[in-house]
């Protein structure tokens, strides 16, 4: 427990510093929020410092189970302290709303309770974007570095990747270098896209914010109409940023360092991701053209941007999607459930799991027809170990169960069926905008407080892949801890 508090202390200090960095726009644009921002930043930083100093001697986890607690508490603490700038500046009135917004940020979901964001003080806008940026990075870090180092890989919690079927963890000898590589790629990508967007005629302030929210597959915007008012070129640039955010970061590192031969370890996931995106784009573009009567230019732009936004669970919008043809919406829901590659910033089930699931079913069909043949489930030419396939099965079933539960709870809290389905899937996958009133350019402001809490919890569940959170809810977890 002490070690957990120490780690949380370190992370809170980082968060405090990030809040303080929001002083730059606050002072530059002189919107009068600097006292509030300074106060919340310093408070967060000092709480972190206090925890770190108090528990500086704790070096290891007392119990392996505590790893789950650590991961969950870390995200909860981030979200809790992330509410401070919203509350202190008075942009969000109630704690429920602030927590929703903050949770949506640190889980890089992108669901918002703010009907319009255009008039908000710049420091708050930057803070929203920034929560997504470090939330998105945090999850990559968690999967690539922290989880293996805590020994959770033995439990093979986070996909096959952390459990050795895939050699993401092994390519860098140590956790430190994995961390460096990932951080390097992330920062490099951010910088490149900021510059490209800036050069394409955007104000540097807008470029920074939009890059932060899209490279992390978050989806907050600083405009009321998300991406619609941008030029077509800028939208395509952002779509490309989103597309990259759905690719495994270790893979991007390999590409950037010209280690092409390492690509083959993930080539099937990558192909699946790209082909699925391509097919979905085709469907959306043609249905926009023929069913919705968009012009060709419009349908291609909206189709490309929106489909990528869906499969990477970003949630940036090329236009108001709420009046779109129902099948497109349905396809969107399915795409966001699938999600991008494991080890990226996206949510959803992840392409690797979907591949393993589908192949598992295919294997069983083949077994039935040819009972004497040996049909292992293969991924990238390597047979997938039985227990990993088993884990994927469990994660899938739990995911489905949690989605069902979420829909039921939301309906019981007074939300209608369409909206419940939309909100649950948008929150658990991290897409953001739901269906009907919470979809498109709408927001979650009309939800009851209970519904907002459920949504916040779903975001946390989705980001931490359900199992981590659920295991804490079991009584046996707390027995003789």
């Amino acid at each position: 427990m002490k070690y957990i508090l120490r780690v949380i202390g370190i992370v809170l200090m980082v968060e405090g510093s990030l809040i303080l960095s929001c002083l730059i726009p606050a002072l530059h644009f002189a919107d009068g929020t600097w006292p509030a921002v300074t106060a919340s930043g310093l408070f967060t930083f000092n709480v972190g410092l206090f925890l770190l100093v108090t528990f500086r001697k704790a070096r290891t986890l007392a119990d392996r189970r505590m790893a789950f607690l650590l991961v969950v508490l870390l995200w909860v603490a981030l979200a809790l302290f992330g509410t401070l700038p919203f509350l202190a500046t008075g942009t969000v009135r109630t704690f429920t709303d602030a927590l929703f917004e903050s949770m949506s940020g640190v889980t890089s979901t992108g669901a918002t309770i703010l009907p319009a964001v255009g008039h908000l003080p710049s420091s708050v806008l930057l803070w929203r974007s920034m929560t997504q940026w470090f939330g998105g990075f945090g999850i990559v870090l968690l999967v690539l570095a922290i989880v293996p180092s805590l020994g959770i890989n033995k439990y093979s919690l986070y996909t096959a990747e952390a459990s050795g079927a895939d050699n993401t963890g092994k390519q860098a000898a140590s956790m430190a270098s994995t961390l460096r590589q990932t951080l390097g790629v992330y920062i490099l990508l951010t910088a490149v896209f900021v510059i490209v967007l800036w050069k394409s005629g955007m104000h540097i302030w807008d470029a920074v914010n939009l890059t932060f929210t899209n490279i992390s597959s978050g989806g907050f915007s600083i405009y009321n109409d998300s991406l619609e008012s941008l030029t077509a070129l800028q939208q395509y640039v952002i779509a490309f940023a989103m597309l990259l955010s759905g690719v495994n970061f270790a893979l991007l590192y390999n590409v950037l360092t010209f280690h092409w031969e390492r690509l083959r370890h993930k080539v099937e996931q990558l192909l699946f991701y790209l082909v699925l995106t391509g097919l979905a784009i085709l469907f959306v573009v043609f249905s926009l053209r023929w069913q919705m009567g968009y012009t060709w230019g419009e349908s291609i732009r909206c189709g490309v941007v929106q489909t990528i936004s869906l499969i990477t669970t970003t949630g940036s919008l090329a236009t108001d999607t709420s009046p779109w043809w129902v099948p497109i919406t349905f396809l969107g829901v399915l795409l966001s459930l699938c999600g991008g590659m494991a080890g990226s910033t996206t949510g959803g089930l992840k392409t690797m799991r979907v591949l393993i699931l589908v192949r598992n079913v295919r294997k069983i069909l083949r077994d039935r027809l040819h009972p004497h043949a040996v049909n292992p489930v293969r991924l990238n030419g390597q047979p997938v170990a039985e227990h990993i396939a088993g884990n994927v099965i469990v994660i899938f079933l739990v995911y489905v169960a949690v989605v069902m539960m979420g829909i039921v709870l939301l309906m019981l809290s007074g939300i209608n069926a369409t909206e419940s389905i939309g909100a649950t899937i948008a929150c658990i996958t991290g897409y953001g905008p739901g269906l009907a009133s919470s979809g498109g350019f709408g927001c979650y402001a009309a939800f009851t407080p209970a519904a907002k809490w459920i949504c916040s919890f779903l975001m946390l569940m989705g980001r931490l892949e359900c199992m981590t959170v659920l295991v804490l809810l079991l009584p046996s977890f707390w027995r003789r801890a």
Partner: protein
């Protein structure tokens, strides 16, 4: 392989001609004659060369062909009398044979009585046929592996049809027929008309759910209701258990009251009834209406029969949600009901529970046990594959339905209700959709037909025929 044609030749027309003299004589007799002729022709032309060596591929093929040809022939009586378009007749016929009970007929009482009985009879044949084919053909493919039935069936792991298997099938026939007869008699005793009793008994025992009036079963008296509830409940139970119950073999091999699936079935039933009743009462309904309604509704939903009563004055959202969940879960394995089946749910739930324990104690070893028998991992993966395909079918079906212009919740409900062979359930309407099948376009009806068929064949057979590896040598 050619055995199919034999059974088509024998099964259908005999049964149909039995009822031909009942109302719409001409059309039924005519279609019976046609079907009989076709069947005899097929038998005589092809049956002479029939090989009796049935392997997996052939039996899958046979199952699918039978389930396509029989309902296709079954459209004839509809076409001769009453229903005009072919797609409607097809929908009605498939809905019958798959024991779904979805209907495009808004006012079934306008139909001649003979046709109504025929309609319910297709369900009865379907319910029996399903058991027959699950046991006789699918079983040895491992689809419902040895552990699915208890001792008397588990000795039959042979790859070819075996006298013993034939005997077990005939036992199920007997149980099925006895239950049906008992129900007809009880309904008659309670004062229902002959047509009503026969039709309702057929559609209850098979968990089909075709009704004879547009008001459902509400016009019948309390006594009839009680009989229907009891038999709906019974038809959701594994037939093998019922057989043991009636033959007084209560203790062997596992005492009946210890059977896990039966226990879960009972407790889910009781809990759902309680939840349903409480939520109706909390909405302010009269308890004299709410209690019977809850019992009836849950029995109808769990067994995937699909009978319904007129809605209570104040609907409760929780009930609708519960209904949806129960539809997907379905009845016991080895019963005539549809859905995922409780046994599979039990296995998966135990598997997931083990997984959580393993997260905390990584070196522990656990096995999933049902009724004290260890379920091996291969079987669990089969169960999972089934669940996955089931969900995939619901999702894909719902997607196609949205192409036909229905809303998302509506499509999902329709797809789920038809894959699980439930059919109509007005309570789902609270979830945002009306299950009015008559208004669907032709493409939508065809989608639902495929879903019903997939649900009835437990998906694998249908998927197998369409998978490339099936056709590979």
């Amino acid at each position: 392989m050619l055995l199919i044609y034999l059974s088509i030749g024998m099964l259908l027309p005999v049964a149909i001609s039995l009822y031909a003299a009942d109302g719409a004589q001409f059309s039924l007799a005519a279609s019976a004659m046609i079907i009989l002729t076709v069947g005899l022709l097929l038998r005589n032309i092809l049956g002479r060369h029939a090989e009796y060596d049935i392997r997996e591929r052939e039996s899958i093929w046979m199952t699918v062909i039978i389930w396509l040809v029989v309902p296709l022939c079954g459209t004839l009586p509809y076409l001769f009398s009453g229903i005009n378009t072919f797609s409607d007749a097809l929908f009605e016929s498939f809905s019958g044979f798959t024991t779904t009970g979805s209907s495009v007929l808004v006012h079934p009482e306008d139909l001649p009585a003979g046709l109504l009985v025929y309609r319910s009879m297709t369900q009865w044949v379907g319910g029996l046929g399903l058991l027959l084919f699950v046991v006789a053909t699918l079983r040895k493919l491992g689809i419902s592996a040895g552990s699915l039935y208890n001792a008397e069936f588990s000795g039959t792991q042979q790859r070819k049809l075996h006298p013993r298997l034939a005997r077990s099938v005939s036992r199920m026939w007997r149980v099925y027929i006895i239950i049906t007869l008992a129900m007809i008699v009880l309904l008659l005793v309670q004062g229902a008309s002959l047509v009503d009793s026969v039709a309702l008994a057929f559609s209850t025992v098979s968990t089909g759910g075709f009704v004879t009036r547009s008001t459902g079963v509400a016009h019948l008296g309390t006594g009839v209701m009680v009989v229907i509830v009891v038999f709906m409940f019974l038809s959701g139970i594994n037939v093998a258990l019922l057989y043991r119950f009636f033959t007084l073999r209560w203790r062997r091999p596992v005492p009946l009251w210890r059977d896990e699936e039966l226990r879960v079935y009972l407790s889910v039933f009781l809990v759902s009834v309680a939840a349903c009743a409480v939520s109706f009462l909390s909405e302010g309904n009269d308890y004299r209406q709410a209690l019977p309604y809850s019992v009836f509704h849950i029995a109808s939903t769990m067994s995937t029969t699909g009978f319904y009563l007129p809605s209570l004055p104040r609907p409760a959202l929780l009930v609708s949600v519960l209904t949806f969940v129960l539809i997907v879960v379905g009845a016991s394995a080895g019963s005539t009901g549809g859905g995922l089946k409780l046994r599979r749910i039990i296995i998966l739930a135990k598997y997931i529970a083990n997984y959580f324990t393993r997260m905390m104690h990584p070196n522990a070893v656990f096995r999933v046990k049902v009724n004290g028998e260890v379920v091996d991992d291969g079987y669990i993966r089969k169960v999972f594959a089934f669940v996955f395909l089931y969900i995939a079918f619901i999702v894909a079906g719902a997607f196609v339905l949205t192409l036909c212009g229905t809303s998302i919740p509506e499509s999902v409900c329709m797809a789920a209700a038809n894959v699980s062979n439930l059919g109509p359930s007005p309570l789902i309407n609270n979830l945002g959709g009306s299950l009015d099948y008559a208004l669907l376009p032709v493409a939508g009806k065809l989608t639902l037909v495929i879903l019903m068929l997939a649900g009835r064949l437990e998906i694998f057979a249908l998927v197998a025929v369409f998978s490339p590896s099936y056709w590979r040598k």
